[in-house]
Each structure stands twice: as structure tokens, then as C-alpha cells.
Symmetry: C2
Subunit: 214 residues, 2 copies
């Protein structure tokens, strides 16, 4: 498998964690999102993924896109260890936590959105950072409520084994810390993220140890 | 089943289509997103879904949130008619199309984001509408490329039966038209959306025929 990735992309980071949790080897192909206006906007990459976003996974001669779709694919093709629980209601809960991050927080703070804010709407650096922290605050607060208010939360987002929701939570907390967000009202989120950080699969997926890290 | 819904929410619209495609009866509970500052921000609804977003589905004594997680749940609990194909690579494709809409387009144009633009960043009505059209343009262009460039596209997004991707596409095209977006460069997207519009399951899910439509 070949993963088109950027060290700091949190969508790519999710897939790296999932691949590691499943013990799957892959070749990392770096796509630089900033240099030269972004390699993801150049024809070579757009031929692979017309959406021009990372990650993309090559497997069985096909190109797969969208981080959550990729993780579900890995789950179906390599079921063990499972990243989703067995019961439908529990699977729905884990997917909802993952999507509360992947749909409600991450896209609003994506690089291209921040660039639009400054270039098209003339937002200042301060306004851009306030935007970033606002959506992380609102979004992770909702995730905290989902986690803290449910007995199914364990050492990880769901029970005591890492799964899809943790694959999403850890990169989002990484971003939050990078931008200096106040996370003091989210003790469950932090407890789980810090617990994950102790695992090899999460450590090897971290931005700072990627081959393209700067 | 009880669906907490708002007639114009495109996330709720997706779930309404999926419920109809599967022939499942449900009770619609309207949550007004505008009146009185938004019923979704009031304690009664936040107790149900702390993220304060619609839709939420009540089933088996549990509250499920996040539209795609809800549709996957319906797929697992009521497998027929299937909204996802059988093969893992095909399932990944359908999920990727769905997420290209549900993650990359919709959240950036969500009501609360538009409100932040005008209230916090002082965006004009014109700038707000340009923002809206920009992200629909970029996002649906990517979806068009995913559809037009793949032989698996049929009368619907994947083959000749409606599925998860169509549940996402139709509400997004509805929004695009409502905001006067130029969709002339997206013939495949339009062809499929118009084909869906002929089906009873899609017609009954449309915003204008909901009990809370204005």
C-alpha cells in the first residue's frame, strides 16, 4: 500500500494511526501542501485525486480518498484488530464521535479555508487564529460531552481498546495544542489523547517523526 | 424511530432520504434552527444531542447523531435495500463521494459558520454568498471529477441503484440551486440529482414537503 501523506495533515495522520494499529506496512509518499503553492494542486496529484486533498491510499490498483472511507476500507479488508466495536449501536457511537471531529471541526479549519479568510476576506492573523480556536473549542466541547456523558467511554473513546474515534481525536488534539487552544474544559478528551500518546501505533504516526517532517 | 429534523438542514435531508429508501417509518420531530435563536441551542435539545446539531435519531432507547453514522447504522440494522455496494473497494468509493460532500462542502457552509462570518468578521451579504458559492463550486467540481471519471458511475452515483452517495448529493445540489450557484460545469452531478428527483423516496424527503416547511 502507498499512502500519499503530509506530515501535518490531520486527515493523513488519522490514516497513519489506523494503518499502524492494524500492523499494516505502507510506503509513505509525501505531498507538500505549502511548497510551490502546494504539490496537491499540481496535475500529477490531481490525476490521482481530483479533489486535491490528502490523504490518498493506493491499494489493489485503485486510489482511495477521504480518511474515514479509507479507515472503513482497512477495517473491512483487515478486520483484526478491529477499530469498530461489534454492535450496531456502538458502531454508530464511534462513527459519530469520529464524524464530530472529521466533519464538524477539521474542514472548517482546513488550510484552504484559512487561506480564503486571509486572502479573500482580509482577516488578520489574529482573526484567523481566533477562528481556528473558536471551532476547535465548540467542536471539542461537543466531543467532551459525548465522551464524559457515556458509560461506554473507557481508557479510549470507546472501551479499553483504541479505535476509529481515537484515530480522529489524537490529530485534532495535536492541532489544538499547536494553536494554543484552551483545553482545560475537556478533561476526558485530554485524558484519552494522552493515553493514546503512550502507544507505539500513535507515536509512529505523529507528525514530528514522519519522513517529510520539517 | 424518531427523527429530530429541520426541513432545510441538508444533513437531516440525507437521513430522511435513507429512511425512505429503506422503507422505514419514523416520527419527524421538528427542531427550528432559526426561531428564538435556534431550538437546537436550547437545553431540551442539548440534553439529547450535546453538539446541538440536527439530525438526531432516537432508536432502541438511544440517541444517534451525525448523519453518515446514522445512515451506516440503518444499513447495518436494516440491510435491505442496501445503500452501500458489496465489495470493499466499491464501498470505499461510495463513502468517499459521500464524505467529499459531508466533510468537504457542507460544514464550511453550515449556518453557524455563515453567522460567524457576518457577526465576527463583518462579512457583507455579498461576501457571505460568494463564500457559499466558492465552497460549493470547489467541492462539487471534485465530486463531478470522481463521478465523470469512473466507469462505476451509472444512473446513480454508483451503478443503477440509489445509495449513500446519492443521499448526500441531492441535498447538496438543492443548496447549490437555492444559492444560485453556477452548476454548468457539473453535468454528471446534475444528471444524477435530477434522476433521483424522480423517485418517491427522494421526493418525500425534500425540504418543501416536510411538516415544518415554511
Amino acid at each position: 500500500m502507498k499512502l500519499h501523506t503530509y506530515f501535518r495533515s490531520s486527515a493523513a495522520y488519522r490514516v497513519r494511526i489506523a494503518l499502524n494499529l492494524k500492523g499494516l506496512d505502507y510506503e509513505a509518499v509525501p505531498v507538500h501542501l505549502v511548497r510551490g503553492g502546494g504539490e496537491h494542486r499540481q496535475p500529477a496529484y490531481l490525476g490521482l485525486n481530483p479533489a486535491g486533498l490528502v490523504p490518498a491510499l493506493e491499494d489493489q490498483g485503485q486510489v482511495l480518498t477521504q480518511s474515514l472511507a479509507i479507515v472503513e476500507y482497512l477495517e473491512e479488508t483487515h478486520p483484526q484488530p478491529a477499530l469498530l466495536p461489534a454492535a450496531a449501536l456502538d458502531r454508530a457511537r464511534v462513527r459519530a464521535i469520529a464524524q464530530a471531529i472529521a466533519c464538524d471541526i477539521h474542514p472548517v479549519n482546513n488550510l484552504r479555508v484559512l487561506q480564503y479568510l486571509t486572502r479573500e476576506l482580509g482577516a488578520s492573523e489574529e482573526q484567523k487564529n481566533a477562528w481556528y480556536r473558536h471551532w476547535i473549542g465548540v467542536g471539542l466541547q461537543a466531543v467532551e460531552a459525548m465522551l464524559a456523558g457515556d458509560a461506554r467511554t473507557g481508557a479510549f473513546c470507546h472501551g479499553d481498546t483504541p479505535g476509529l474515534a481515537d484515530c480522529c481525536l489524537v490529530p485534532q488534539v495535536f492541532n489544538a495544542r499547536r494553536f494554543g487552544c484552551d483545553l482545560s474544559a475537556m478533561p476526558t478528551v485530554l485524558r484519552i489523547a494522552d493515553h493514546c500518546a503512550g502507544l507505539e501505533a500513535f507515536r509512529r504516526a505523529a507528525p514530528e517523526v514522519q519522513p517529510d517532517a520539517e
